[in-house]
Symmetry: C2
Subunit: 275 residues, 2 copies
């Protein structure tokens, strides 16, 4: 790479750090990349750190010493997260989302990459220090949110299937009871998808009583892996607390009522904002 | 926002542009954001443009005039794309990927957000000027690639389901013939997911004879929408040309042979690199 001036270095270092979140980058890497002294690189990083932190984009952690370097931890400030959640609630309350059976159409929102990225950034903020190895979801609608979260945390995604697929190799299948309908379903995970003792962040788009997520928790036990956290975009508030299978989770929004007659939907910010 | 110095502006403008690809941002937006003169903003943008273009990160298009501004078009240089494809081929050739029936395990690769983002950037480069309204895929394995592509193009994703779901509202279902096995399947798309006359980029992880993608093309006809392009991560080269249902597509890698006996897999860069 040709020798860059400070102004040019700042542009390139910014894009480099943003594209490699949760990754330790040594000062030597930057010094060699730009043919610059480490002291200049340190000054550059101080400028970037200040802007990132002032703008609420996250932290730039500096580790001193021979093995030292810099690590970008994407974070979304709680007031920004709340604005996002309020905007999401507002969109979810549009009355034409009501489907037969009181279901809510939300595929358009799940289809917006920028919206998923914001939600993923919130989960990456909440679970930044939870020492997670992998993000897990079950097909289908939670997939974009799982990838958005994993990208911010620099982690792989493990995808649980509803059926055993020929492209997954040998797999472990379990049965689980959907908490709301008490019906029995199957989910399946490839044997080679998950290492033993992995710490797993479970992400999904919607949770009612929590049967599907409890299924993923049971599946993790089969792999001797453990749950490091659970994040859902929208939870249903219309669940009696004794029916709820899961207590420890983060939600970004809570659906408290869908009235098909009056076409009123009530959605409020989730439990993340109550903590 | 407090008044920033040039060095700080460069950091913030870089992250702003990267987070809003394919979006026209007026100079006024930046001038007001930083309390700076438009002439200073123009100088900042010239620096950013040079670094982006030198680093092969894409183009910074400047539109002059009252309605003018700047637009970041992410692009991956063809030599970088080829390195990516070669690395992908190398990984796909690991012999322990062979599954019963000659299938290839690739869920681990599809589970790497950074890998999907690189592939998405290649499709965003190829289809940057194709006037696309929406990216479409069919569940399940193509979803991360579709989102990665859509994020770079600043477009929504439309997801075709294998079955009609209660959460999708009224839907259009079609039958299609899988080209390789000649078996009949169904796919279904919510009525409200796609506007008439949309121009659609179809993305999938794998294509053999092209039956699934032909199914999506047929589905688009039901919506009076049109195909603007087709991109697949991996195509099977083991298809007689008269069996191939689709001629016009971009592939990043081509699987030419899986020999279960000798445990040899042969994968080469796809047709994008032959053009």
């Amino acid at each position: 790479m040709k020798k860059l001036k400070r102004s040019e270095r700042l542009v390139d270092m910014t894009q480099y750090l943003l594209s490699e979140p949760h990754t330790l980058i040594s000062l030597t890497t930057f010094a060699e990349r730009y043919g610059a002294a480490k002291s200049s690189i340190s000054e550059d990083l101080a400028i970037i750190k200040e802007v990132f932190e002032d703008e609420g984009m996250g932290e730039l952690q500096t580790l001193a010493g021979a093995a030292g370097g810099v690590k970008y931890i994407p974070k979304l400030r709680k007031d920004h997260a709340l604005s996002f959640a309020q905007e999401l609630c507002h969109k979810l309350q549009q009355s034409d989302r009501i489907l037969p059976g009181g279901y809510l159409y939300m595929s358009d929102l799940l289809g917006e990459p920028s919206l998923m990225n914001e939600a993923g950034k919130i989960f990456a903020t909440v679970f930044a220090d939870c020492d997670i190895d992998v993000v897990m979801t079950v097909e289908t609608k939670g997939i974009p949110l799982a990838y958005a979260t994993a990208a911010q945390l620099n982690l792989p995604v493990v995808l649980v299937r509803r059926d055993h697929q020929v492209t997954e190799g040998s797999a472990v299948s379990i049965n689980y009871v959907s908490g709301s309908h008490k019906s029995i379903h199957t989910m399946s995970l490839s044997r080679r998808a998950l290492k033993e003792r992995s710490r797993v962040l479970i992400v999904d788009d919607f949770m009612k009583a929590g049967g599907t997520i409890q299924g993923m928790v049971d599946l993790l036990a089969e792999f001797n892996a453990e749950v490091a956290g659970v994040g859902v975009l929208l939870e249903s508030g219309a669940v009696e607390s004794e029916e709820r299978l899961l207590q420890d989770y983060i939600s970004l929004a809570r659906l408290s009522d869908v009235d098909s007659k009056s076409k009123m939907i009530t959605v409020n910010p989730g439990n993340y904002f109550e903590k």
